[in-house]
C-alpha cells in the first residue's frame, strides 16, 4: 500500500540507447523498461514508496550519460486487464 507508480518517458542521444538501458536496469524501483519508436525513445515504469524516492530515481536517470530529457507522469488510477 501507499505505492506510487509513475511512467518516465526518456529521450536519448543517438546511438546511446543500449548503454542507457543497461544502466537503467541497475536502478532500484524500475520495474519495466521499454525501448520504443516514436516521440520518446524509452518508457520506464517505476514503483516507489514516496515522492522523494521518485525524485531520487529521476535524479539517477539524469546522471546517466546520453540522456537528453525526461518527462515524468505519475499514475493516478489504473485498470489491469492482462
Amino acid at each position: 500500500m501507499g505505492l506510487i507508480r509513475a511512467y518516465i518517458m526518456i529521450n536519448v542521444e543517438v546511438g546511446k540507447i543500449a548503454g542507457v538501458v543497461e544502466k537503467l536496469k541497475k536502478i532500484d524501483g524500475i520495474g519495466n523498461i521499454a525501448v520504443v519508436a516514436g516521440e520518446f525513445d524509452i518508457i520506464v515504469r517505476v514503483r516507489v514508496r514516496s515522492v522523494e524516492e521518485l525524485f531520487d530515481i529521476t535524479e539517477k536517470i539524469h546522471k546517466i550519460d546520453g540522456i537528453v530529457r525526461t518527462t515524468t507522469h505519475v499514475v493516478e488510477k489504473e485498470v489491469i486487464r492482462e
Binding site: V21, V36, G38, E78, E82
Partner: protein, 406 residues
C-alpha cells in the same frame, strides 16, 4: 531476475515434471487390469495429497506461510465462495473430461513419446479460439506454425511399426483437447481476476480444482464403469505408492505451470511448456532401457525414431514461432479530464490493451498493448480509440525491446 527468464524457467520445470508424470502413469497402467481403478485412485489420492501439501504450506516460517515461496499470493487455504465456484466448476469439469481421455490414451498407446505430442495439440484450439475472439483472419505465420504443430504431433506419435493410431487421435482431439481448452481458459481467467481484492493463488486453484474434478470424474466413471469404484478400495499398496508419486509430481508441475500462466499469455505458456514433446523421447528410451517390455519399444528402427524426432522438432519450431509473434506497443493519449473514469474504462475495454493508467502530466493516459499481429489489430485499436468521446489525440509507440523485473 528477468521476468522472461523466470517465465521460461517455470515452463521448463513444469515440462520436466509433466514428462515424468506421463511416464509414471504409462508404467502404472500396465500394473492394473482396469485403467479406471488407477484413474479413480489418482484423483482421490491426489486430492488428499494436495490438501496435505497445502497444509504444510500454511506452516509459518519467519512470520509468513511457507507456501508464499511457491506463490507470493498464497495466504492459506480458503473455502471457495460463489464467485470462486463460477471459475472452479468449469475448470474442474474440463479437467475431468480431459483426464478421462488421457487415461484411455496412455493405457492404449503405452508410449509417452507419442502421448506427449498429442497433448500439445491443445494449442491449436487455444490459438483458434484467440483468432475467433479477436475476430481476425489468421496471419500466414499463424497458419504456418499451427500446421507445423499439427503435422509434427502426428509424426511424433508414429508407432514403432510405422502406423498412426487414428483411434487415439480422435480421443485426443475430441475429448482431451476440448476438456483441456475449457480448463486452461477458466484457469487463466481465474489467475487474473481479483475476488475481495485478492488474486487466487495457484495452490488454492490446484487443491480446489482437484477436489471438484474428483467429484466430476467419479460421477462420470461411476456411470461408465461402476465396478472400478469398488475395486479402487482393494488396490495394492504398490499401486497406491505409484499413484502417490505421480500425484505429488503432478502437483508441482501444475503449480509451476499456473505460476507461469500468471506471467505470460495462455497460448505462449502452452508454447513454452511444449518442450515436453521433446523430453518424451529420451524419457521413453530411458524406460525402454531400464524396464524392457513395460512400455512400447520406440527404438525399433532408426527411421521411425528419426521421423519421431523430426515431428518433435516441427512441434517445437511451430510453438516457438507462435510465441515470438507477439507485438507490443504503448499508446499515449490526450483527453481533457472531467469525463471522470469513463474514458479509462472505455480504453481498457479495447481488446489487446492490457493496462491503462490515468496520468498526471503532458499526457492523460498511457495504454499498454499486446497483440498477436500488428496489421489488422492495430487498425482495430485505432478505430476504437477514435470512437471514444473525449479523446483529443493519441500517439502510438511501438515497443522494440522490453525488459521487465519480477
Amino acid at each position: 531476475m528477468r521476468k522472461k527468464a523466470l517465465f521460461y524457467f517455470l515452463c521448463f520445470l513444469s515440462s520436466v515434471f509433466g514428462t515424468m508424470v506421463v511416464v509414471i502413469d504409462s508404467i502404472a497402467s500396465t500394473y492394473v487390469e482396469d485403467i479406471w481403478v488407477y484413474g479413480n485412485l489418482s484423483f482421490v489420492l491426489g486430492t488428499v495429497l494436495s490438501f496435505i501439501i497445502a497444509l504444510v504450506f500454511m506452516i509459518p516460517v519467519r512470520g509468513r506461510p511457507l507456501g508464499k515461496n511457491a506463490d507470493p499470493n498464497f495466504y492459506g487455504i480458503f473455502i471457495p465462495n460463489r464467485e470462486h465456484l463460477k471459475y472452479f466448476l468449469p475448470m474442474a469439469l474440463g479437467n475431468a473430461i480431459a483426464t478421462i481421455g488421457y487415461f484411455y490414451v496412455i493405457a492404449t498407446m503405452l508410449d509417452p513419446s507419442a502421448v506427449l505430442p498429442f497433448m500439445q495439440l491443445v494449442i491449436l484450439y487455444l490459438a483458434l479460439g484467440e483468432i475467433i475472439i479477436e475476430g481476425d483472419t489468421p496471419s500466414l505465420l499463424e497458419i504456418q506454425s499451427l500446421t507445423m504443430i499439427m503435422f509434427g504431433a502426428l509424426l511424433a506419435s508414429i508407432s514403432p511399426t510405422g502406423t498412426l493410431n487414428i483411434h487415439s487421435l480422435i480421443v485426443v482431439m475430441a475429448v482431451i483437447n476440448t476438456g483441456a481448452t475449457l480448463k486452461i481458459v477458466a484457469q487463466r481467467r481465474m489467475r487474473l481476476i481479483r475476488i475481495d481484492g485478492k488474486r487466487i493463488d495457484s495452490i488454492n486453484i490446484r487443491i480446489w480444482n482437484l477436489f471438484f474434478s474428483t467429484i466430476f470424474f467419479i460421477v462420470i466413471i461411476g456411470v461408465m464403469d461402476p465396478k472400478s469404484i469398488i475395486e479402487m478400495f482393494h488396490a495394492s499398496s504398490k499401486l497406491i505408492l505409484i499413484t502417490a508419486l505421480s500425484m505429488t509430481i503432478t502437483f508441482f508441475s501444475k503449480i509451476t505451470y499456473i505460476r507461469a500462466l500468471g506471467i505470460g499469455r495462455a497460448s505462449i505458456t502452452q508454447a513454452a511448456t511444449s518442450i515436453t514433446v521433446i523430453l518424451g523421447i529420451p524419457a521413453t528410451l530411458l524406460i525402454n532401457y531400464l524396464m524392457p517390455g513395460v512400455l512400447s519399444e520406440i527404438f525399433v528402427s532408426p527411421v521411425v525414431l528419426t521421423i519421431k524426432l523430426i515431428g518433435t522438432i516441427m512441434v517445437s519450431l511451430g510453438v516457438i514461432t507462435l510465441a515470438l509473434s507477439e507485438v507490443r506497443a504503448y499508446i499515449l493519449i490526450r483527453a481533457p479530464r472531467g469525463k471522470g473514469s469513463t474514458i479509462l474504462r472505455n480504453i481498457s475495454r479495447i481488446r489487446g490493451i492490457v493496462l491503462v493508467s490515468a496520468l498526471a502530466g503532458k499526457y492523460d493516459y498511457i495504454a499498454k498493448v499486446k497483440l498477436r499481429t500488428l496489421g489488422k489489430a492495430y487498425r482495430y485499436i485505432v478505430r476504437e480509440l477514435e470512437k471514444i468521446e473525449g479523446i483529443e489525440d493519441f500517439v502510438w509507440l511501438s515497443t522494440l525491446y522490453e525488459w521487465e523485473e519480477i
